[in-house]
Symmetry: D2
């Protein structure tokens, strides 16, 4: 039983079915095809953003580096939580493009409008500002690396402060499906499209073999994005391989031919909601059995702080993520569910806890 991450299973069966259906057809390369167009239309409709520009890339790190490099002027940096993926786990891919990541202290993975405002205001008040990297955009993750979510109010405040300072807001939605499908969130896909200049809808962790859908809800920011993709070596020759997966995920799950306007009707939401349900069962069991939650996550990643002894016992039966190095004989571990998690595996996990 595997609970170490949410990218351990290939893809939802409907995607393979769809692939089989189109495998006899020929398509033009580089995203100039009917499947890409269809997937783009679905996403525009679900985002209530008819003017949005949509592009499909292979993976998350790549998406972050291409979008950030495209949105920034060469002498600008990107503001992000100090725990953000781009600040830590992407091996300097952002710096490879020549840009500095400007870290802000995170609170359970999140940053605030106030922090952004303070940073940018201080920057321009600094007599030496021209000698310091200029903050040129804001990067947030939703859900965060800690599984937490921004509230609609928090997102609106961040969006306001960004636009007041005239810097774009970009949201990394590697796990966006698990954020949208969380039980008590008040943030919808159209909210995200309205509040961010650009974001991506994660495929790799939410049912696809590979693929992330970049959405420029502010279409002016998409200017020459094709050239940026190409120059980063990120253009997929068979663009439709990625877009058909989104075309499948973004349709109504029990009747793929019916166009849906509500994310909740989509296969994407449906399978991510399953992951949330399983995660909530684990969370409840943890609380009942007296475990110490490392923090309160409403999404598919649950973090607990356990004794090394307990961690070792669990390790005999399941795989999990080691989140922080052991300290004082205790360790923080991550239990992740996904669209593919089996209910019976969660049953067994609960018994083991």
């Amino acid at each position: 039983m595997h609970f170490d991450s949410d990218y351990m299973n290939l893809c939802h069966p409907l995607i393979l079915k769809r692939m089989a259906e189109v495998s006899q057809q020929s398509f033009s390369g580089y995203g100039n095809d009917s499947l890409s167009q269809s997937a783009q239309e679905q996403i525009c409709r679900l985002c209530q953003s008819p003017e949005a520009k949509i592009f499909f890339l292979a993976g998350g790190t790549q998406t972050n580096m291409v979008v950030i490099d495209a949105l920034l002027r060469s002498f600008e940096g990107v503001l992000a939580a100090d725990c953000a993926h781009i600040a830590i786990h992407e091996s300097g891919a952002i710096e490879f493009t020549g840009h500095k990541v400007l870290p802000l202290n995170h609170n359970n993975g999140k940053i605030t409008a106030r922090q952004i405002d303070d940073y940018v205001t201080s920057y321009y008040n600094d007599p030496n500002w021209e000698h310091i990297v200029e903050p040129g955009m804001v990067y947030i993750t939703h859900p965060t690396e800690y599984g937490t979510l921004y509230s609609l109010n928090e997102l609106e405040e961040i969006s306001n402060v960004c636009h007041r300072h005239n810097i774009p807001l970009y949201l990394d939605g590697a796990r966006l499906g698990y954020g949208l499908a969380a039980l008590n969130t008040d943030v919808t896909l159209p909210d995200i499209a309205r509040l961010c200049d650009a974001f991506y809808i994660g495929g790799t962790k939410c049912g696809a073999i590979y693929g992330e859908a970049v959405v420029f809800s502010n279409p002016q920011k998409a200017n020459r994005f094709f050239s940026h993709i190409k120059r980063h070596g990120a253009l997929l020759a068979k663009g439709w391989g990625a877009s058909l997966q989104f075309d499948t995920l973004m349709r109504h799950f029990d009747d793929p031919s019916r166009y849906a306007n509500q994310t909740k009707d989509t296969l994407y939401f449906h399978i991510c909601r399953h992951a949330i349900n399983q995660a909530m069962r684990i969370r409840e069991a943890l609380l009942q059995k007296g475990y110490t939650l490392f923090l309160d996550s409403p999404t598919n990643q649950q973090f607990i702080n356990v004794s090394l002894q307990k961690a070792k016992e669990l390790g005999n039966h399941i795989t999990y993520g080691q989140w922080e190095p052991p300290k004082d004989n205790r360790i923080t571990i991550r239990l992740a569910t996904s669209w593919a998690t089996k209910t019976e595996d969660v049953d067994q996990l609960i018994n083991l806890l």
Copy 2:
């Protein structure tokens, strides 16, 4: 009927079958999985290169930029034919990594050991050599952008001159299958592994949805390649998505469980040979009907020079690639077959010619 390129169909049905088989299983991320290990073993065996290091990336431009950036020191450039993909059609992706492409005049897409030797010798004889980009590696394509092939003797000479000058030889095998399956080639996969320091076996154009297998037959050159991949944003979270495709393509085609030592036994060779057979049928018809071949290609790309009138007529029935801009009322076009080309489509094409 589509003859414009060889990346217009998703993938061979056996790949989708294999995907369905593993879709219930969980795998570790980032290439640490049993499918990647199996595919690596297959490729080592077929290359007769037990020590080779194998990595799987998503696409060709990406593969070129990561490998070239990894093999070069920061102040070095890469020698390549002036018509090479990296010199023209990759939108400056190599320059994005900070390296210059040093062009050599091509002859039907190929360069010679003599040209390389002359360039490197002149370089070190130039009193200003330290002010000029140093040639740090050689890049060749096989088949070339013009569909032509190196002979074993030519490859051996190029390899010798590279190693005499102590610079690595890298072969871009985006269409390698069509090269190996050509009718009169004397170059085998073990030859390529023996003569090149690194090369890649193209998947995207030869039966896979996506994926290129980088082979460091000189394993020392693979030092820290994982870090290079990661930093370029090119690491696939679900590495097994690409490797299972190679694991399928590199097995014996009618009995996937049997390990084969001969490329000729593999699904990869089998489906590429089909493309060659269809291309040779087209070539013969062209010659019979008095067309002017732009050059003599033994692989899946056939180039002809036709009147604009004829080109327009063909365009009513088939799609083709426009190779060079029209001149003097004539135009050079490309007819490409692939593993997916239907025999009956070629029948019809021949009737149209």
Copy 3:
């Protein structure tokens, strides 16, 4: 006696005199000082370009890389003669900034408006243009690497074609003084300012210890140039060290306090004209004595094709530049004069010829 290059002597004595005068004064750093302001005003006046923005950098390669990187969008390249300094002798410094140099065949160091027009037009007509580096600016040298000069008419045509295609024109004036002081040129500094978006007035080769003055006669192109300089590590802490040299060179040579509106009145012109006079003496002697000029240069660099025997003889008495490697027992060499060349050395050289 040294005739190998024009950067073998420190600087004109008036510069050292000026340095001594200001060495007791304190100045603000990073170009915010009265000397920089004065030098900028002088240059604006001489260029008849009151709105121009002027910056002082240390050397030529650095200037080229910062200006080119600032003028181009990240996915664009720079059109240049294939013999241009940026294409050959700058060790990939342009590629280091991520940009490709797009070479055009040179004719005695020059390129034509027609070549630029053809390249750009073909580019946008190419169905694959988005896969190819976009031409984003034009770089020319004046004088060229071969000592030749553009005529006013040629410059106007190049400027027109650039602006018609909406790409900036940048002129590398490492030896600009020797171009302006040539005997029969019809190109003046105000012409260059009017026709180019940006250019630099070379100091290092024309009387200064170090320093090049970048002129954005199109001031919009100077947007955020300070940040570009800083990020390239090219900002001089003591900016006035470079600007006082230009402030000295750009004043009337026999009365440094009098502002001059004509380049011809300046110390810069005066000392460069001396180099031209000496070069013309050499040229005449060469013609009289039956030497084969490699090409006809009106500036301070003279190229001749001599037997290896003759070259060796000369080498016993003078130093010269080896321009092309020996071939068929003959070799092309460069004899360069400079602002510091002594008349009596030229006398002796003429005797030796």
Copy 4:
């Protein structure tokens, strides 16, 4: 009276004298000249490092970016204090070369061997290390940005831990003269050469017009450094312009022809000691008059925390550096002396305090 920085005066008069002496001579370009050789020999001797390789560059940011880029492999980052120049005031010049700056919390500008050890050890213990930028070198400043100094013992510990982990140690000596000339320091130039793999001796802030001398006391680390300089556009055509300044500064100050083995005999030490003496006079006066030192600095930069009212009063008579933004009606300011500070200006400053 100017106390805002230590780079407000052109250069020591002996440098201009030396320039005048050589201005009639011709020298080869790019550092291949007798003055550069002489300066290199002087520095090797003073460092007691006969095998050291020495290079002369124009400025500090440039030196940092070229050295760091040369010492790191492409996927590595540089450990530095979070207040370090490269982490803040160099506008992303390090990131421009593709490398991440990995910040450590500073203590009065310094970092410790323990911090480095902990960081590197944790890094390799992290199961995700391959996804995180690898620490590839350590950067320290001496004196630090806060004017503080490492003790010999601290430097030895840092050197040991670096070499135990097999990563090079690089010391930024922009103000090295003021560190060597401090009154109670136990660190000498040979110590620095012995303990660091590379460092630079600052010229711009210590008596030169421009110029920093990079010393690779570990000569293997200098491999191909010329090519790195060139590619960064940092090669000075007239290399001797910078090296003659070091040749002057590094000689015995009252008899420039006598070679000295002790830094203390050099003009460099002599003029920096003057700055220290003046700074200590200011420091004593501050303490006597009851000012609050922001921290205890033994070098030419003194930091005090004063009321805004007092700062305004001082501002009527002198210039100073604003170090931190005002807070609670108080502000931290910097008073910097230099080799050029006049004793009578310090007298007056003391009266004003």
